[in-house]
């Protein structure tokens, strides 16, 4: 391998990226956009659930009961109404997600019978969110009931009779803030975007424009060409990595509890594999259009859907779970979340690091072999 040749290709490639607004946007703007979108807007947390209330009872007991919802950050009582059609209309329009009706004699029934019905209607068109909303309602009602029982027993000087006292603690992400969990995973997504949308074009473009014809008439070697083309994208990937880490910490308060060095080293391994995969696709494809479609299908989509970034792997059907073992980002996301949130190191992450190594090694081999074959 000759350094002068490799550098010539590196410089040329860099100038081309720098002059092409589309490449620049893909290199820097899209990663930033994703960070901001996922960090701010696309929170997977469900809070401020809009709730329409019809309080037919109007008693003090019912008001105190409603206070429990008012004080919870998960609910937002959007208004009080006195008929069904108006509230149903709100649900139809998506303005309200829950309708709560406190029936007449609510407080009276509690005081005399010790039990009173409460009607809750939930918009189930998004089943997942409905499930979670119902869970929140249950827990508010549950804690109200518990307090009521406790108070009643105390009045009669009877000791607490609740047999199991649940004392749960959530580790690593105490507030269950989904952005702490999303932002580290985004690093894998951003790297795949650079590989899929940028690198996959680099060689296909040379064939398409006829510049490869001139290049292969020169003594340039496959390895020089591949390294020279790989390096600029590696630099871009690393700049994006640093930006993601800094933005994550400064803007979103994502803690980086583990080793920064380990984060950068493992990212380097993953990035190498992802870029080489992009180059492989670029060599295999006949045109730029085909290259980018192939890249999105084979590297970007699986990373997005099957890596555990958006959907938990253990929630997937068994056969899909087997497929996820072939998605390199799966291992990288475990590493990212491990380093970021759990603060663990090689002692816990080594199996995933080895998997990443194997992926990168295969990708490098594939790219080089494929290119040599194509040129010969």
């Amino acid at each position: 391998m000759n350094l002068r040749r490799t550098r010539a290709i590196f410089n040329k490639e860099f100038i081309q990226i720098w002059r092409d607004p589309r490449s620049l946007a893909m290199a820097f703007f899209i990663p930033m956009l994703l960070l901001v979108l996922f960090g701010y807007a696309l929170s997977l947390d469900i809070d401020n659930i809009p709730m329409a209330v019809w309080n037919q009872d109007g008693s003090q007991t019912s008001m105190r009961f409603l206070d429990n919802f008012k004080l919870s950050k998960y609910f937002n009582i959007m208004g009080y109404y006195d008929n069904y059609p108006v509230m149903e209309h709100l649900v139809d329009k998506g303005k309200a997600m829950i309708i709560m009706v406190i029936p007449k004699h609510f407080s009276k029934q509690i005081q005399s019978n010790g039990i009173a019905p409460l009607q809750v209607i939930i918009d189930g068109s998004d089943s997942n969110t409905a499930q979670i909303a119902l869970g929140y309602v249950n827990s508010v009602v549950y804690s109200y009931n518990q307090k009521f029982v406790k108070d009643a027993l105390a009045v009669n000087s009877i000791a607490n009779a609740t047999p199991v006292d649940l004392r749960s603690r959530i580790w690593f992400n105490q507030d269950l803030d989904s952005k702490l969990f999303i932002v580290p995973g985004l690093i894998a997504i951003i790297m795949m975007i650079i590989a899929a949308l940028l690198t996959s074009l680099t060689i296909a473009r040379e064939w398409e424009r006829g510049t490869m014809e001139q290049l292969i008439s020169t003594p340039v070697r496959s390895i020089e060409l591949i390294i020279g083309k790989f390096a600029p994208y590696f630099v871009i990937g690393f700049i994006d990595l640093v930006i993601s880490v800094v933005v994550g910490i400064m803007l979103f308060g994502v803690p980086l509890r583990g080793s920064t060095v380990l984060l950068f080293v493992t990212s380097g391994i993953f990035l190498t594999g992802a870029l080489m995969l992009g180059i492989y696709i670029s060599v295999a494809a006949k045109s730029q259009l085909m290259a980018s479609q192939m890249a999105i299908l084979t590297s970007f989509l699986p990373t997005f859907m099957l890596s555990g970034f958006t959907y938990e792997i253990f929630n997937m059907p068994q056969w899909v779970q087997y497929i996820t073992y072939l998605v390199p980002a799966r291992y990288f996301i475990v590493i990212l979340r491990g380093i970021y949130l759990k603060g663990v190191g090689i002692e816990a992450l080594w199996p995933n690091i080895i998997a990443l190594f194997i992926f990168s090694f295969i990708a490098v081999r594939l790219a080089i072999v494929k290119f040599k074959k194509k040129v010969a």
């Binding site: 040749r5 010539a8 290709i9 040329k12 100038i15 092409d20 001139q214 008439s217 020169t218």
Partner: protein, 316 residues
């Protein structure tokens, strides 16, 4: 090979793409320092041959050497010693003129000092001083071709291969381009050039005509016009050449009568015998204003007649 004065030599060189034979066992030698024209219509096998010689594709069979290196086993060595300019413009449009030159200087491992020195020579040679900082895409066709030629010369190759260097370029630029090529040959550079503009062939020291993958003639321009042209050409100027071109082909002795610009070229084994017959036809038809003379065959006449003979001997 054994011969010191030979730059390129091929024996029985063949290239097949599936069932299609693009180049059919051709033989030729190119001497050092000559301008060797490789001529033929589009699709004759010119580019395929040049790409085999440059080590871009591997021949199906046959042997050959370029600069003393084997075209099958020493492609890397060949690539270091030749310059190649492909038919399609193949520099980077989004780079400036200078950046393109820098890139190829890097590819040929020139040191920074050598590069800067060579770059100035190249820019001067190609006459592109005014555009050195312009994006290549803003250059017109002719200037692009000159830049491409310059880039292929960056490492001072002793042999250069130019594939249709003047296609799509205006006549003045073409002439200019040939000036550069002749200058290179004077410095001892061997120039192997393909073209389908037959008039350009006059610039070559020697040439070969390839048609349907087969070489059908080889020699100096003078030899081509004498050795390969036994027939004579009669140039006829009339008011309605389209109509007359067709009617003349029925005159006894005329093998071929075709439009040639605004005139008709009639091919006949003997102009002396044929001219009176044409005169007779014109008189019979009452045509008064015409001019007719035997002329020296141009290369284009030669090639057209050679290709027609070949097609007659090898019906599809």
């Amino acid at each position: 090979m054994s011969n010191e004065g030979i730059a390129v030599s091929v024996q029985n060189l063949e290239k097949k793409f599936g069932a299609f034979t693009a180049v059919n066992r051709i033989n030729f030698d190119v001497r050092k320092g000559e301008i060797f024209g490789f001529l033929g219509p589009n699709g004759a096998g010119k580019s395929t041959t040049i790409r085999m010689l440059c080590g871009i594709i591997t021949p199906t069979s046959g042997t050959g050497t370029v600069g003393g290196f084997d075209i099958k086993n020493e492609q890397e060595k060949i690539k270091e010693n030749i310059g190649y300019m492909s038919q399609k413009f193949s520099l980077y449009d989004d780079l400036t003129v200078e950046e393109n030159i820098n890139f190829y200087a890097g590819i040929y491992k020139l040191s920074r000092h050598d590069r800067d020195e060579r770059k100035e020579q190249i820019i001067k040679l190609a006459g592109i001083e005014a555009f050195r900082s312009n994006a290549t895409k803003t250059l017109s066709g002719g200037w692009k071709q000159r830049l491409a030629l310059g880039c292929s010369l960056i490492h001072k190759p002793r042999i250069i291969f130019l594939d249709e260097p003047t296609s799509g370029v205006d006549p003045i630029t073409r002439e200019n381009f040939w000036g550069i090529i002749k200058g290179l040959a004077k410095q001892g550079v061997t120039v192997f050039v393909t073209t389908h503009y037959m008039d350009e062939a006059e610039n070559c020291d020697r040439m070969t005509l390839i048609y349907k993958g087969t070489i059908i003639a080889m020699g100096t321009p003078e030899e081509m016009k004498t050795k390969f042209m036994r027939d004579e050409i009669i140039q006829i100027r009339v008011d309605e050449p389209e109509e007359w071109a067709e009617r003349l082909s029925s005159v006894e002795g005329i093998k071929e009568s075709a439009l040639f610009g605004s005139t008709i070229h009639a091919v006949s084994p003997s102009a002396k015998k044929t001219i009176p017959l044409i005169t007779k036809l014109f008189e019979r038809e009452g045509l008064k204003s015409y001019k007719m003379a035997k002329i020296k065959a141009s290369l284009e006449d030669v090639f057209v007649s050679l290709i027609e003979d070949y097609d007659k001997e090898h019906p599809v």
